[in-house]
C-alpha cells in the first residue's frame, strides 16, 4: 500500500489550515462594498401576512433596502422545489404546497421569512428589522402529525386536502397478509422516531455578488453540493442562467445533510445583490439554524413481524406517518419512501414485506435528509422489532438474528434493493467477541449486587449507500442523475490536480483522494492537490451525501486516472523505445518491465506538454476526465453492541462499553473512516438519549437553542471500541462501500435495546432521558 497509499493512516493534509485558524468559511469572506442581510421571520406558526410597513426602517441610517415576498413574486422568482416525485397508491402525484422564498401571503412555520433588511452592517440591519412592522392575522396551527390528519384539523395548503402529502406503498400486500395468516407468532411494536435538528457547528451563510457589467452572479455558500445548488437556482428559480452563476462552497463546517438543500436565504441574497447593486452577505445565527435548517427523522410507526414455529421471519407489515413540516424540502419526499422503506428487510431473509407511508404537512420547520436519511429510521424499527421478538419468543437476541440472517449473495429483498455482498455473521461475531457477550450475565449479576441495572443491546444495521445508479433513481422519481465526475490534470512539472464534484465538509477528501493517486503512481501526496467546491473550476458534480464520495466520487477519479495513465504509458513507451504493454508504473517512474530502463513521471508530463517527441498523431497535454455512474447501491453493514447501566434511583444511563464492527469494504484511510464512525455514533447516541426538536401544540418551537436542545457533549459519550470485517463491494473497482452514515444508522437501536434490557420494560421512546427512563421503570 505504501506509506501514503490506499489503506494507510495518513494524517490529513487539510488540517494545517484548520488548526492554525486559517480555514476559510463563508462568514470569513469580506467583499468590498458588502451589505448585510437580516431576515424578518414569522413569530407565528400559521398566519396571514396582512401588511408589512417598512417606512420607519427605510429612514434609518445605513439601511439600503427592505425587500418582501411580494417583490419576489413581482420579479417572477420561482418557488422552492422538491426534486423527487412520489406517486401515491391511488396513482396521484404528491401534493405540493407552494413555498416562496419569502412569504407574500401566508406563513406556515415559526421562522419562515417574510422580508429582508439589507444594510451597511449586520447590527444596522438588525436594528432596522426591529422597526419593520408586520401585521399578521393568526390562523389556527397544528404541529402534531396525528392531530394534523384528523378531520377538522387546520389545513396548511389548499393543494393538500387533509394535510396529506402522499399515501405511498411498497411491497406485496397479498403475500404479506398470507404470511401473517399462517404465522406461529406475531410481534407488534409502535415506535416514534424523534425529530432532530442537524446542527452543523457552522451556521448556514451566503454571500452573493452581482457583476452588472457581465450580468454575472457569484455565490459563496455553505453547500455540500455547489453544482446542484447552481443547477436548481438556475433551472427553477429564474435567478441566473448557469453560465452566469458561479457557486463556491469554500470550507464548510459540517453538513450532515442539512447543507444539501437550496434554502430561501441564498436565493434571496442572490436576487437582492442585483437589486441593491452591492454584494449581500447573510450569516445565520444558531436560533435561525434551529428554525430553518431542515430537520431530520420524525416518524410514527406501527409494525408487525410474523414468525414461523422455527423463529424464521415470514412477513413484515409497516405503517409509517412521516412529518414533512410545512413545506416539501428539496429531497424530503424520497427520505421516508425510497431511502427508508427499501431498507426494511434489514439483514434478514424476509419473504414478504408491505409498507405504507403517509406524508403529512404540519406547521413546523421542513424535514429532509439528516445523516442516514430514512435508513436510521428503518434500522431502528427493524432492530427494535428483533429485540422485542427475542424477548417475546424467549430466545437470545443474537441467536434470533443469526437464525434470520441473509447468507447468500446477491440477495433480492422484496423491497427493491438487491444486496450485493456481505457477511453478517462475521460482523456480529466480531462485535460479540469485542464486548465479551458470553460474560455479560456475570457482569449483570455483579452490577445488580451494586444496585445498578445493567443491559446489553444489539443492533445489526444495513444501509444502501454510494447514492446512486442514475437510471435506477430516475425510474423511482429522482429529478437528477447521481453519478460523479472527476478530472485529472497533470501539470508540465508532474504535479497533479484532481478536480472532483464531491465536496468535503469534514470528510478529509484532500487526503484520501490523494492517497489513491499516490497508490497508483507512487508519488508523494504532497505532489497532488484536490480541487473542489467551485463551479468555475470543476465542470460538474453531484456533491457529497449518502456516503457516496468514496464509492462514487473516488471511482470517478480512478476512471480518469486510468485514462491519464494509459496516455502517459504511451508517451513513456515512445520515449523509452519500448512497447506500451511492457510499461509498468512504480515509485513515480514508468519502467520497462524486466529492464533498468525508466523515465520519471515528471519527465513524461513534461514530454506531454513540450510535445517535441510524442507518438504519431497524439494530442499534446496530459489531462483526462471521467463521469462515473454506479451500477448499484453499496451496502455497508455491521453489528453494534452497547452495554450500559441504569441507575434505578435517577433513571440515568451510563455507558460501560460500546462496540462497533463495520463492513465498509475497502478502507482508503482507516483513521478517517474511524473518525466518521465516531461522529455517526455520537449522533445516533444523541438521538437515543438526548436530542429532540419539540414543538408545543400551537407550533411554537420549544428547543430553538443549545440551552433547550440537548446536544451530545464530551461527557455524555463513551470512547468507542471499533473493528472492521471486510467483504469487498463488487459494484465498484475499488471495492468501497462507504462509511459516512453507519454510526448514525446503527447506534440508536443498540442503546434503546440495552436500556430496555436493563430495566426489563420494552416500551421506551427516544430520547431516553433520565426522567423518561425513571418513569418507565416505575410505571405500573
Amino acid at each position: 500500500m505504501g506509506v501514503e497509499g490506499i489503506g494507510a493512516r495518513v494524517v490529513r493534509k487539510e488540517d494545517k489550515r484548520f488548526i492554525t485558524g486559517k480555514g476559510r468559511y463563508v462568514d470569513d469572506i469580506k467583499l468590498t462594498g458588502m451589505t448585510h442581510a437580516h431576515f424578518i421571520r414569522s413569530p407565528h406558526a400559521h398566519a396571514k401576512v396582512k401588511k408589512i410597513d417598512s417606512s420607519a426602517a427605510l429612514k434609518m441610517p445605513g439601511v439600503v433596502a427592505v425587500l418582501t415576498g411580494q417583490q419576489l413574486v413581482d420579479d417572477k422568482v420561482g418557488n422552492l422545489i422538491c426534486g423527487w416525485a412520489i406517486t401515491s397508491k391511488d396513482g396521484s402525484p404528491m401534493k405540493m404546497g407552494a413555498w416562496p422564498a419569502m412569504a407574500p401571503e401566508t406563513v406556515r412555520f415559526v421562522g419562515q421569512a417574510v422580508a429582508v433588511v439589507i444594510a451597511d452592517s449586520k447590527n444596522l440591519a438588525r436594528d432596522a428589522a426591529e422597526a419593520v412592522v408586520v401585521d399578521y392575522e393568526e390562523l389556527p396551527a397544528v404541529a402534531d402529525m396525528q392531530a394534523a390528519i384528523k378531520a377538522g384539523a387546520p389545513q396548511l395548503h389548499p393543494e393538500a386536502p387533509g394535510n396529506q402529502v402522499y399515501d405511498w406503498v411498497i411491497g406485496d400486500e397479498g403475500a404479506t397478509d398470507a404470511a401473517f395468516a399462517k404465522a406461529a407468532n406475531v410481534v407488534k411494536l409502535d415506535v416514534t422516531n424523534n425529530r432532530l435538528a442537524p446542527n452543523a457547528m457552522e451556521p448556514r451563510a451566503a454571500i452573493a455578488d452581482y457583476d452588472a457589467a457581465e450580468e454575472h452572479f457569484t455565490l459563496y455558500t455553505t453547500s455540500q453540493n455547489p453544482h446542484v445548488a447552481r443547477l436548481v437556482l438556475s433551472a427553477f428559480y429564474n435567478i441566473a442562467p448557469e453560465h452566469k452563476l458561479r457557486v463556491i462552497a469554500p470550507d464548510v463546517g459540517g453538513g450532515f445533510g442539512s447543507k444539501i438543500f437550496i434554502y430561501p436565504e441564498e436565493m434571496v441574497a442572490l436576487w437582492a445583490s442585483k437589486k441593491v447593486g452591492r454584494p449581500v452577505k447573510w450569516t445565520g445565527d444558531r436560533t435561525e439554524a434551529f428554525l430553518t435548517d431542515a430537520h431530520g427523522r420524525d416518524h410514527v410507526t406501527h409494525a408487525e413481524m410474523a414468525f414461523d414455529a422455527n423463529n424464521k421471519i415470514t412477513g413484515l407489515k409497516v405503517k409509517t406517518y412521516a412529518n414533512f413540516g410545512a413545506y416539501m424540502s428539496l429531497f424530503s419526499s424520497s427520505v421516508p419512501t425510497y431511502l427508508y422503506a427499501t431498507l426494511l428487510s434489514g439483514q434478514y431473509n424476509i419473504p414478504a414485506i408491505h409498507a405504507e407511508v403517509i406524508g403529512v404537512y404540519t406547521n413546523t420547520t421542513p424535514v429532509d435528509a439528516y445523516r442516514g436519511a430514512g435508513r436510521p429510521e428503518a434500522s431502528y424499527l427493524i432492530e427494535r422489532l428483533m429485540e422485542t421478538a427475542a424477548r417475546q419468543l424467549k430466545v437470545d437476541p443474537a441467536q434470533l438474528r443469526r437464525t434470520n440472517f441473509i447468507t447468500q449473495f446477491p440477495h433480492q429483498t422484496p423491497v427493491i434493493m438487491a444486496y450485493d455482498t456481505g457477511d453478517f455473521n462475521a460482523s456480529l461475531d466480531a462485535a460479540m467477541k469485542a464486548i465479551d457477550y458470553a460474560g455479560f450475565a456475570a457482569r449483570k449479576a455483579q452490577a445488580k449486587s451494586q444496585g445498578k441495572l445493567r443491559g446489553i443491546g444489539v443492533s445489526c444495521y444495513i444501509e444502501a449507500c454510494g447514492i446512486a445508479p442514475s437510471k435506477a433513481v430516475g425510474s423511482l422519481g429522482a429529478g437528477v442523475g447521481l453519478w460523479e465526475s472527476a478530472e485529472v490534470r497533470v501539470n508540465p512539472v508532474g504535479t497533479i490536480e484532481i478536480l472532483t464534484g464531491s465536496h468535503s465538509h469534514g470528510q478529509g477528501h484532500e487526503t484520501t483522494f490523494c492517497q489513491l493517486v499516490a497508490d497508483r503512481l507512487g508519488v508523494p501526496i504532497s505532489q497532488v492537490s484536490i480541487v473542489h467546491g467551485d463551479t468555475d473550476k470543476v465542470q460538474f458534480g453531484m456533491g457529497t451525501y449518502g456516503s457516496r464520495s468514496a464509492a462514487v466520487g473516488l471511482t470517478a477519479i480512478l476512471k480518469a486516472m486510468e485514462k491519464m495513465e494509459s496516455k502517459a504509458k504511451k508517451i513513456a513507451a515512445h520515449a523509452l523505445e519500448a512497447s506500451e504493454a511492457d510499461i509498468v508504473i512504480e515509485n513515480g517512474e514508468f519502467k520497462v518491465t524486466g529492464t533498468d530502463k525508466a523515465i520519471a513521471f515528471p519527465m513524461v508530463a513534461l514530454a506531454a506538454y513540450t510535445a517535441h517527441n510524442l507518438p504519431e498523431g497524439m494530442e499534446p497535454g496530459l489531462k483526462e476526465s471521467a463521469f462515473y455512474d454506479p451500477t448499484n447501491f453499496t451496502f455497508p453493514a455491521g453489528a453494534y453492541i452497547c452495554e450500559l447501566e441504569v441507575d434505578p434511583g435517577t433513571g440515568k444511563t451510563s455507558f460501560v462499553n460500546f462496540v462497533a464492527a463495520d463492513d465498509f469494504g475497502r478502507l482508503i484511510n482507516p483513521m478517517i473512516v474511524e473518525g466518521q464512525v465516531h461522529g455517526g455514533l455520537a449522533q445516533g447516541i444523541g438521538q437515543a438519549l438526548l436530542e429532540h426538536a419539540i414543538y408545543d401544540a400551537n407550533g411554537q418551537p420549544v428547543t430553538a437553542s443549545f440551552m433547550d436542545y440537548s446536544m451530545p457533549r464530551a461527557d455524555d459519550l463513551p470512547s468507542f471500541n471499533l473493528s472492521h470485517t471486510t467483504t469487498l463491494c463488487p459494484g465498484n473497482p475499488l471495492g468501497i462501500k462507504g462509511c459516512g452514515e453507519a454510526g448514525a444508522i446503527g447506534a440508536s437501536a443498540a442503546v434503546i435495546n440495552a436500556i430496555t434490557d436493563a430495566i426489563g420494560k420494552n416500551d421506551l421512546e427516544m430520547p431516553a432521558t433520565p426522567d423518561r427512563v425513571w418513569r418507565t421503570i416505575h410505571a405500573a
Binding site: G21, E202, A682, M711
Partner: protein
C-alpha cells in the same frame, strides 16, 4: 463608540467600536482574525474560545470594552512560527478534527485545561473522565469527541515534556 486597546497575539492594537460590540467581533471583523468562530448565540458551543490574560474565555460572551487593556491570544497566535503548539500537533496527529469549525475553540479550551491541571501540582495527571467533563462547554458535531479526548491527553504529555524542558 469607545476606543478599546488590546494586545492581541503579542501586538498592541486599538480599535474604535460601538459599545455593544462583542470581543469576538473585534477579532473577526476588525482584526481579520477569523480563526475564532461563532457557533451559537447562547454561550454554549465554545467555537469562540480565546485566551484573555492566559485564561480561556468565550469571546462571544464578553463585550470588547470588558477586555480593554488585556492581552488576548487567539488560535492564530499559539504556534511559534512554523512550529505548531503541541495541542495543535496533537489534534492533527490524533485526527481530532473533521470540518474544523469547532477546532480553534477546542484547542484554546484544551490548552487551558492542560495548563490548569499541570499547575495544580496534582502531578499534572489528566484522565479521560476529567477531560470529557472539562470539555462540556465546547460542542463538536463531527468527531464524537473520541479523538479530541485522545488528542488532549496526548498533548498533556507533550506539554509536560515541553514544560520540563523549559
Amino acid at each position: 463608540m469607545s476606543t478599546v486597546k488590546l494586545t492581541v497575539n503579542g501586538k498592541a492594537v486599538s480599535v474604535d467600536v460601538e459599545d455593544r460590540t462583542l470581543l469576538v467581533h473585534v477579532l473577526r471583523d476588525h482584526l481579520n482574525l477569523t480563526g475564532t468562530h461563532v457557533g451559537c448565540d447562547t454561550s454554549q458551543c465554545g467555537a469562540c474560545v480565546v485566551h484573555m490574560d492566559g485564561k480561556a474565555v468565550k469571546s462571544c460572551t464578553m463585550l470588547a470594552g470588558q477586555a480593554d487593556g488585556s492581552s488576548v491570544t487567539t488560535i492564530e497566535g499559539i504556534a511559534k512560527g512554523d512550529e505548531l503548539h503541541p495541542m495543535q500537533a496533537a489534534f492533527r496527529d490524533n485526527h481530532g478534527l473533521q470540518c474544523g469549525y469547532c477546532t480553534p475553540g477546542m484547542i484554546m479550551s484544551a490548552i487551558d485545561i492542560v495548563q490548569r491541571h499541570h499547575s495544580q501540582g496534582s502531578g499534572g495527571q489528566l484522565d479521560e473522565a476529567t477531560v470529557r467533563q472539562e470539555l462540556e462547554g465546547n460542542i463538536c458535531r463531527c468527531t464524537g469527541y473520541h479523538n479530541i479526548v485522545k488528542a488532549v491527553l496526548d498533548a498533556a504529555g507533550r506539554m509536560k515534556v515541553a514544560q520540563a524542558a523549559e
